[in-house]
């Protein structure tokens, strides 16, 4: 089975600033890849290069077996791209929006398809309502329906669930998985950890560079992080104060509060243990080593990079 996305050394610069830096990525058909990374790390730019909206400065690759440089027109016929912003027409009704998408793709049996899509959405009664009047969750559902009308083989979703309530998010993911089971390939960007864990595989990008790829477990294991959960031993102990003391100590790379608990960790196990030694002798806190979460891994990666600056 061929890969739906296969790109090597993809690079894009804007005014001398490298936004995507030699990115290579392979996504097998029928898989859901979670594309993660801080804001401004180059996720959207990568997606735009994949669907032919941007021409890469360097690198090459194929999308659905088609060359992203020379065959973008053919790629566009077979992909569905849901942009970050709601990008249907707010001054068109639900039906009119879907009808426009169907016409643009020259779909046969247009009316029937549009009606079926509206029914699937459960919006039959509201089909003449303007898209601009819909709530965030419904807009997202409508946008997804619009980019699925022409039955794409690859779905590119740029933060599809931003500002959507948990119930709608859950339904969204159920739908995505059902479609992936039928062979649709999905590349989805998100900032939600629970969503990342729903993907078959994840790719983490920072400063335009791909830092890690693989399943969630592989990425966590690959980060080689040692973490401790710290709980207050008595009512007078403040994890907040402890966190302030721990920050900046060499060897400690992760200090993150989780409710009353504190997650502390580092990439170098020996250095971390040595650094924590004096703190663990204090009787105010209970220390327990636990498995790092995906979020621990990401937080440990993040502080080293602030947007617009390159990593030292």
């Amino acid at each position: 089975m061929s890969a739906a996305i296969e790109v090597q050394g993809l690079t894009k610069r804007f005014q001398g600033r490298t936004v995507v830096d030699h990115l290579s990525l392979t996504v097998p058909q029928g898989r859901i890849l979670g594309f993660l990374g801080p804001n401004g790390s180059g996720k959207t730019t990568t997606i735009r290069m994949l669907c032919g909206l941007l021409t890469p400065d360097e690198g090459e690759g194929r999308c659905l077996g088609l060359d992203i440089r020379t065959q973008s027109h053919a790629i566009k016929r077979q992909i569905g791209y849901m942009t970050q912003r709601f990008s249907l027409y707010e001054d068109l009704s639900i039906r009119e929006n879907l009808d426009f998408s169907a016409r643009v793709h020259g779909l046969p049996e247009r009316k029937a398809r549009v009606e079926a899509a509206i029914e699937r959405l459960g919006l039959t009664a509201r089909r003449h309502q303007l898209a601009g009047e819909l709530s965030g969750g419904w807009k997202q559902r409508l946008a997804l329906a619009a980019c699925l009308l022409h039955q794409p083989r690859l779905l590119l979703l740029d933060e599809p669930t931003a500002g959507v309530d948990p119930k709608a998010r859950r339904e969204f993911w159920e739908q995505i998985h059902a479609m992936a089971a039928e062979g649709l390939t999905v590349l989805v960007t998100t900032h939600y950890m629970d969503e990342a864990e729903r993907c078959h595989a994840i790719a983490y990008i920072a400063q335009g560079k791909l830092l890690a790829t693989g399943s969630v477990e592989e990425v966590i294991r690959g980060a080689g992080l040692t973490t401790f959960s710290v709980a207050p031993a008595h009512g007078g102990a403040e994890t907040g104060l402890l966190a302030r003391r721990l920050r900046g100590v060499p060897g400690i790379e992760l200090v993150a509060p989780f409710g009353a608990l504190l997650h502390v960790g580092g990439g170098d196990r020996e250095a971390l243990l040595a650094a924590l030694e004096p703190f663990r002798r204090e009787a105010d806190f209970l220390w327990r080593e636990d498995a790092p979460t995906l979020e621990d891994v990401f937080i440990q990666w993040m502080p080293a990079q602030s947007p617009g600056e390159s990593r030292p």
Partner: protein, 383 residues
């Protein structure tokens, strides 16, 4: 409760914060800033240098069937007045019509056969000046000058026994024929012209906004990722406004006829067909602006920046021939200039397809050039 504590009193500090923010935003939007400087500069140059409501050096054709001294002397005096410039010597009647209909000349002076002889005999022969009076403003001063000049133009030539003719009425009878607009009614000129102005304004701004709106609302990206090709987007955006343009034209035509009583001498069908080129040219301009503007405000400003020379240099507001050479050259580049000649030609002069072909051609060239620019600018990719 104390108003000061409540923060309800006018605060200079808050006012300054607000003003400071406005200045930063003003400076950030380079185009708006450039327009704020550019538009007054353009107005200054156009109003200050280009516009002249007393046009001189108007192109004149002379049909001299007499070849006598008095006729020649008279023409020389007319030229000396500064209002007339002889550009053509014509030989037959048909050329009179052609020169005026095509707008090649503003006046035709016809000196009848035996003019000098008749003058010498004191028989006061007729001298005919025909003027293209579609724009009364362009001809009234010149014609006024001739009627004054006629009284003494031949004084020097009337010597010896003829000296007696010097006093009294002019030694010939001056007949002035204001063609196309006999009563010199300004509306006859302005109302057809308005059709061009309205079309320019709506077509350019509407298209510019329509495309910029897609970009501003973020729908452009989705559009770009569909199989739609640039030419399809462009034509699809433009065509609905062609229909709007025709509705506007019809409205103005009906109003011209019913409310202003403007005569429609020519064939409306010819005008409608020729207009499509003009409408398309303007839409292509609007589309080009939309590819340059980052937001709807900028698109509006560009539209205005384009509109200004069109209205001032095309001959709509001020006689085209009154402008200096350079301004006329600029005017020739603007589609409205050519459209005004078409619409006035068809409605007032009764011009047919052959007479307007040159102007339609000029519009066609303009439309093609701008369309190519528009298509090149409209990028299928975002980079």
């Amino acid at each position: 409760m104390n108003r000061a504590l409540n923060g309800q009193r006018f605060s200079w500090q808050r006012l300054r914060a607000m003003m400071f923010k406005e200045f930063i935003q003003m400076r950030r939007d380079r185009l708006t800033f450039a327009m704020m400087v550019g538009i007054p500069m353009m107005q200054l140059i156009l109003f200050g240098f280009a516009i002249n409501s007393d046009p001189r050096n108007l192109p004149t054709a002379v049909f001299d069937r007499d070849h006598g001294p008095f006729g020649r002397a008279l023409v020389a005096h007319m030229v000396a007045s500064g209002y007339f410039r002889v550009v053509e010597e014509i030989q037959e009647d048909a050329q009179i019509e052609a020169g005026l209909a095509l707008g090649r000349v503003q006046f035709v002076v016809s000196i009848p056969e035996g003019f000098s002889r008749e003058v010498a005999r004191g028989r006061r022969p007729e001298l005919l000046i025909e003027a293209d009076a579609t724009d009364p403003a362009a001809t009234s001063n010149a014609l006024g000058t001739v009627s004054v000049l006629a009284w003494h133009a031949l004084d020097r030539e009337l010597r010896g026994p003829l000296a007696g003719l010097r006093s009294g009425p002019p030694p010939f009878e001056l007949k002035m024929h204001r063609r196309y607009n006999q009563e010199g009614i300004t509306q006859y000129n302005v109302v057809p012209g308005l059709m061009g102005v309205v079309l320019t304004m709506t077509m350019v701004i509407m298209t510019a906004l329509a495309v910029t709106r897609e970009r501003e609302r973020g729908t452009m990206e989705s559009l770009l990722v569909t199989p739609l090709r640039p030419i399809e987007v462009m034509l699809g955006k433009i065509f609905p406004y062609v229909v709007v343009g025709y509705i506007q034209m019809t409205l103005i035509l009906v109003a011209a006829r019913v409310i202003f009583g403007v005569p429609v001498v020519g064939n409306i069908g010819v005008l409608m067909v020729a207009s499509v080129v003009f409408i398309m040219a303007n839409l292509a301009v609007g589309f080009t602006f939309s590819t340059l503007a980052r937001n709807q405000l900028q698109a509006m400003q560009m539209g205005f920046f384009y509109f200004l020379p069109n209205i001032l240099l095309s001959g709509f507001m001020f006689p085209f021939r009154g402008m200096p050479e350079w301004a006329q050259r600029v005017g020739e580049l603007l589609p409205l200039t050519h459209f005004l000649r078409i619409v006035r030609g068809v409605m007032l002069k009764g011009n047919g397809p052959e007479e307007i072909l040159g102007e339609v051609g000029a519009l066609g060239v303009f439309m093609l050039v701008v369309s190519v620019v528009a298509l090149k600018r409209y990028r299928q990719t975002l980079d």
